[in-house]
């Protein structure tokens, strides 16, 4: 089950951190943070799609729906997003 924090993400506005680049790969994508020099693996193309949609979606939930992620899979996606947030790969944004 997702932690309270990650369930809370559903309504929030997030985006890829400005110092992060994504490189599409057959398995999904690599994310690299140029300032912290952290490398992360986004292990499915669907997760990459969700992450790319964050900046233009009015909430995380909208990004998940638009990417076509079935609702039963949301908890694992929220965990993955929480992991990216902890690593500084994605950040909160204020405006829609």
């Amino acid at each position: 089950m997702p932690s309270e924090l990650s369930t809370g993400m559903l309504d929030q506005l997030w985006e890829l951190d400005g110092s992060v680049s994504l490189r599409t790969e057959p398995f999904g994508a690599l994310a690299y943070h140029f300032r912290t020099r952290r490398l992360s693996f986004l292990k499915t193309p669907e997760l990459v799609d969700v992450v790319r949609r964050l900046a233009t979606s009015s909430s995380v939930e909208v990004a998940l729906r638009d990417a076509g992620v079935p609702e039963p899979h949301w908890p694992s996606y929220l965990r993955a997003l929480q992991g990216l947030a902890t690593g500084g790969m994605i950040r909160r944004r204020d405006t829609a």
């Binding site: 110092s19 680049s21 490189r23 490398l39 992360s40 694992s76 992991g83």
Partner: protein, 400 residues
């Protein structure tokens, strides 16, 4: 860090089939070096007259940018001896290619340290192979311990945090792991431990320097206890056969996620495999690096399913995957058999049967005397019996 929603297949299986661009690209910028470390992987010393020009280096950086290679590990030789090193560093940063470069520290002055600390895109890795001067200087040369300490002090004073202290694990320093960690902590650095490889001049000293079996176990236990605080560059996956897998991908990344570009633009499967057998092509050929990475016969072969040979019968094969390709090759072992340091002892018989080891395809070692050159000899502690006119020891007599 791995971010994983439910995924088909393991990431490691997908990585074994290769990526569109390497994750970990090492670029040896020059074979020139101001030192002559006994275990140098690239047999460095003298500059190669055919090394890439400044313009060629810049074009290669442009290509890295196009391929979204986020960062490169620059080494050598000693990269800072190239007169255009700092210019190339700036060029890479301006083109969104982060750089981590390895150095012996001699040229990391206070001024350079301040410049390095001013950008997040550059990381520095200081080489040190002993936690004490006697152990370090024995393999790296006189004064190299002090130089590394000075460089780290300069980086720390400049406010550079989390730079790397890189150690090649040998028979003489396995007992110093806690001390290395303490040194790294003292300078605000992160410790990086890597495996000694029998590559380059490392082949000449392998028998004397590679950790003994009981030391391998000690290293493994230390990594299990401290693995989250140290980097290993996925060096020690052969030790995973002891039990619990070590942090990291635990696979041979050669030609799959790793490769090496040497100073003349040749592309090799990994930094430990500078040999014709593992040369995939040249960045100077039509299509450049991109084509070599994506289409070279060697890399496609390395990305195809591997058999594992004799190792597939072993219960530990899933953990160690047969170990390091370069270590096998340079010790004369078959590539589809066990690693020369197989922790199950499965390479002992084949090692005893090895008739010949591959000779080096290239050697840029210094041919004359080198300032600071290590003297990996046991020094004569007793005086000669008889003085000789030509000897600097003339006048000395036994018992005098």
């Amino acid at each position: 860090m791995t971010i994983a929603p439910p995924a088909p297949g393991r990431l490691v299986d997908q990585l074994e089939r290769g990526l569109d661009a390497p994750i970990c690209l090492t670029w040896e910028l020059t074979y020139a070096c101001n030192l002559a470390c006994v275990h140098c992987l690239s047999s460095s010393g003298r500059r190669d007259p055919d090394e890439l020009s400044t313009d060629e280096c810049k074009s290669l950086i442009d290509e890295f940018e196009r391929m979204q290679i986020f960062y490169v590990n620059i080494g050598g030789g000693e990269p800072t001896v190239r007169p255009d090193f700092w210019e190339l560093l700036d060029y890479a940063v301006d083109h969104h290619v982060g750089v981590k470069f390895s150095t012996n520290g001699f040229r990391i002055t206070r001024e350079r340290a301040a410049e390095l600390a001013a950008t997040d895109y550059v990381d520095v890795q200081i080489s040190l192979d002993g936690a004490t001067a006697d152990v370090n200087d024995h393999v790296r040369g006189a004064g190299t311990y002090d130089a590394a300490m000075r460089a780290m002090a300069n980086l720390q004073a400049a406010g550079m945090n989390g730079f790397k202290l890189s150690v090649v694990c040998t028979r003489h320093n396995i007992g110093q792991l806690d001390e290395f960690k303490a040194i790294a902590d003292r300078y605000g650095a992160q410790l990086r431990l890597t495996r000694l490889r029998p590559s380059g001049r490392g082949a000449d000293v392998w028998q004397e320097l590679h950790p003994r079996p009981e030391q391998q176990r000690r290293l493994y236990d230390w990594l299990v206890a401290n693995g989250d605080q140290v980097l290993t560059g996925d060096s020690f996956f052969h030790l995973s056969a002891y039990g619990e897998a070590l942090p990291g991908l635990n696979l041979c990344g050669a030609g799959r996620v790793v490769c090496l570009v040497d100073p003349v633009g040749d592309v090799y499967a990994c930094p430990f495999a500078i040999h014709d057998r593992f040369r995939a092509g040249s960045i100077r050929s039509v299509g450049g690096f991109d084509t070599v990475w994506k289409q070279s016969e060697l890399f496609l072969e390395l990305r195809s399913p591997q058999t594992g040979g004799a190792c597939t019968k072993c219960s530990a094969y899933d953990s160690c995957r047969g170990g390091c390709m370069a270590a096998k090759f340079f010790t004369g072992l078959p590539l589809d058999g066990p690693d020369p340091e197989c922790v199950k002892g499965n390479s002992e018989t084949s090692l005893s049967l090895v008739q010949s080891r591959p000779s080096a395809s290239g050697d840029h070692s210094h041919t004359g005397p080198v300032r600071n050159a290590p003297v990996p000899l046991t020094l004569l502690t007793t005086r000669p019996d008889k003085a000789c006119d030509e000897s600097p020891l003339v006048g000395l007599r036994a018992g005098s």
